[in-house]
């Protein structure tokens, strides 16, 4: 009996000892599993084509894209659309993601002046031949860009950075960049968009009297000297469209240089806001698929869906007066929307994106020295 009890308790203790070892082994396993999960693995990369991550500007532009494209695309295809709003700096952010081997975004929502830089750096997926064949009859001639040999993005957006002026806050409005720089004759709190150094530098050159045909190569010193001159009169250097929109609506700035989408949207709350297109800068941009995107099939599917939905494109343009890549869009648009399309405005310059992309980093560093230094 006694030996039986001893045997039983021995077995129990033996089990306890084994349990201790198992617990220790489990701890190691949990640690390894946690680390593996944290580092990510191929099987858990969020891959497949049931998700689409779109990086956008935020503010009214992304809101309109969501309203007319993303929500309907999600309903039609069952692909879940997730929106990230880095608000700018797409080229460097994609480069950083690629360097870290962690591509977070599948589709880029018209990344403005960064579009050419993305092409130049080889950070975009080339459109597949099958997609080009399918969408060519549906999109305007030349809408697949930058050219037939380099099909990297589909025209969308075409945002212009132009001058806005709140007539409730100032009596006299500057109507072009030179007058914007003339703080003596056109007094008022100013705001300048600073989320893309090319936009900001070219605006400064225009303010200093440089003609559009002489913008490139950018005279960095001249641009920065002009910015330094106006800096004491600038209350807001906006780093995202939403930030500028808030500053305009709150009356923090009376005179501003901002994307047309931001200003058109702000006009609903500030009806006294007047737009001046002279000296406006138009960037060639569009839907881009990030190189190595986890859900690139879903991204290309979206581009096809977009091309097929010209009514939705028209509604988008009617809402924020921003261009789209559809063929024969004049059939779908009201005369008022056609008149207000940035590309149809006099005094607007289409910026050479490739030339800008070559100086983007140099301009970015110089602009930071002016803003912070």
């Amino acid at each position: 009996m006694s030996s039986q009890r001893t045997h039983a308790s021995g077995v129990k203790r033996d089990r306890r000892g084994r349990r201790g070892r198992i617990a220790a082994a489990l701890s190691v396993a949990v640690a390894v599993a946690t680390v593996t999960a944290a580092c990510g693995s191929d099987s858990d990369s969020g891959g497949g084509s049931d998700t689409l991550v779109i990086a956008g500007w935020g503010g009214s532009f992304t809101a309109a894209n969501k309203e007319f494209f993303y929500d309907q695309f999600q309903k039609d295809t069952g692909i879940k659309v997730t929106i990230a709003t880095p608000g700018g700096g797409f080229a460097a952010k994609v480069a950083a993601q690629r360097a870290g081997n962690n591509i977070e975004w599948d589709l880029l929502e018209a990344p403005g002046g960064d579009t050419s830089k993305l092409v130049l750096d080889g950070n975009l997926e080339r459109f597949p031949e099958s997609l080009i064949k399918e969408i060519t009859p549906l999109v305007a001639d030349g809408a697949i860009r930058p050219g037939p040999s380099e099909p990297y993005y589909l025209d969308h957006g075409g945002t212009v950075n132009l001058i806005g002026c709140n007539t409730k806050l100032v009596k006299k409005c500057p109507t072009n960049p030179r007058e914007f720089w003339d703080v003596k004759n056109f007094p008022g709190t100013r705001g300048i968009t600073a989320n893309n150094p090319i936009f900001t530098s070219l605006f400064a050159l225009a303010g200093d009297g440089v003609q559009p045909q002489q913008y490139f190569p950018v005279d960095v010193n001249r641009a920065m000297t002009a910015l330094k001159r106006i800096k004491p009169n600038v209350q807001v250097w906006s780093t995202s469209p939403a930030q500028m929109q808030q500053a305009v609506v709150d009356g923090e700035v009376a005179i501003m240089q901002a994307p047309n989408t931001v200003l058109v949207s702000a006009m609903k709350q500030v009806p006294q806001l007047k737009l001046h297109w002279d000296g406006g800068l138009l960037f060639d941009e569009g839907w881009c698929v990030t190189k190595g995107a986890k859900n690139k099939e879903a991204a290309f599917k979206f581009i096809k869906w977009y091309a097929e939905h010209r009514e939705a494109q028209a509604k988008f343009t009617e809402k924020i007066y921003s261009g789209t890549g559809g063929r024969d869009m004049q059939k779908y648009l009201s005369p008022e929307a056609i008149e207000n399309l940035p590309i149809n405005k006099t005094g607007v310059t289409l910026v050479d994106g490739k030339a800008g992309a070559k100086q983007q980093q140099e301009l970015g560093k110089a602009l930071r020295e002016i803003l912070v230094g």
């Binding site: 209350q235 970015g364 020295e369």
Partner: protein, 292 residues
């Protein structure tokens, strides 16, 4: 039988684990520390002192007036916030400790701990609403006739200091309150009965006892402050960023990982020096006692 007893004793409950079991239990921590602390730190140093100029990257950093100014703004603003937060925290924690009114205690506790329950963006947005050109503060001052024109409050260093102070207050009050509860309040009465004024009793009796808590609060607040990112960006604007913004800019706009890494190392050095300074002031003996 004797052998059996020895064996079962070996396998039975022991107050100390065997080396292997101990290693197994500590393994998750070691692996996590290795992956999340040691590896990133080594990578950070490798990037900071690697391409393009090795240790010369530090020189490149200091050649930029923008980088120098940003580092200075970070250190100075953090210092201002720390002084305000620790001073206010000392008073609030003392009120919390000594008040007999339940209502007062509840109000102070709510005011102090509320920032901990709110998201960072919400806290910052509150300040945006308060400080914008036609916001609550400007409208109140204008209607009272204190100012004729709205003042520029948003996108200033004042806005950053105000926003950070509000967010950091709990981090000063909590350690100070923890120290204050260990102080016997009868000591103050004893000092007063010996002829000391209330101020002198606080200075000569309470302050020395609270010193470790004060230093701990100072170190915690300052070290957290130097790493601030969102508040300076949203309340300070593009012209007065903190070093964390510069790091983000280097990575995400200029794609200069070496400069971002150098800035990160400098922030770590600043934080390290403050911690070392704090430990030195507390003294080795007090620290040993505190750690048991």
């Amino acid at each position: 039988m004797l052998r059996m007893t020895r064996r079962t004793r070996r396998r039975g409950w022991q107050s100390t684990f065997s080396g292997l079991t101990g290693l197994g239990l500590i393994a998750p921590f070691l692996v996590a520390a290795g992956v999340f602390i040691v590896y990133p730190f080594v990578e950070l140093l490798r990037t900071a002192f690697g391409e393009p100029n090795g240790f010369g990257n530090v020189g490149d950093f200091f050649q930029s007036p923008a980088a120098r100014r940003t580092l200075w703004t970070t250190c100075l603003t953090s210092l201002i916030v720390t002084v305000i937060v620790v001073a206010a925290g000392a008073v609030l924690a003392w009120s919390l400790r000594t008040t007999k009114s339940r209502l007062t205690r509840m109000v102070i506790a709510l005011a102090v701990f509320m920032p901990l329950w709110m998201g960072a963006v919400m806290k910052i947005y509150v300040f945006t609403v308060l400080l914008e050109r036609f916001g609550v503060v400007n409208r109140t001052l204008t209607s009272l006739g204190v100012i004729d024109e709205p003042m520029q409050l948003l996108r200033t260093q004042f806005a950053v200091v105000a926003g950070m102070t509000y967010q950091m207050l709990p981090y000063a009050v909590l350690p100070l309150y923890a120290v204050y509860v260990t102080i016997d309040l009868n000591l103050i009465q004893a000092a007063e009965s010996m002829g000391a004024s209330r101020v002198r009793a606080l200075r000569d009796v309470v302050a020395p006892l609270a010193l470790p808590g004060l230093l701990a609060s100072t170190v915690i607040v300052y070290v957290i402050c130097v790493g601030y990112y969102l508040t300076p960006v949203l309340l300070g604007g593009a012209t007065a960023p903190f070093t964390a913004s510069l790091i983000a800019d280097d990575i995400f706009n200029l794609f200069e990982p070496a400069q971002a890494a150098v800035a990160s190392v400098l922030l770590l050095v600043v934080a390290g020096l403050v911690i070392l300074g704090g430990l030195r002031l507390v003294g080795r003996e007090r620290l040993r006692r505190a750690l048991g």
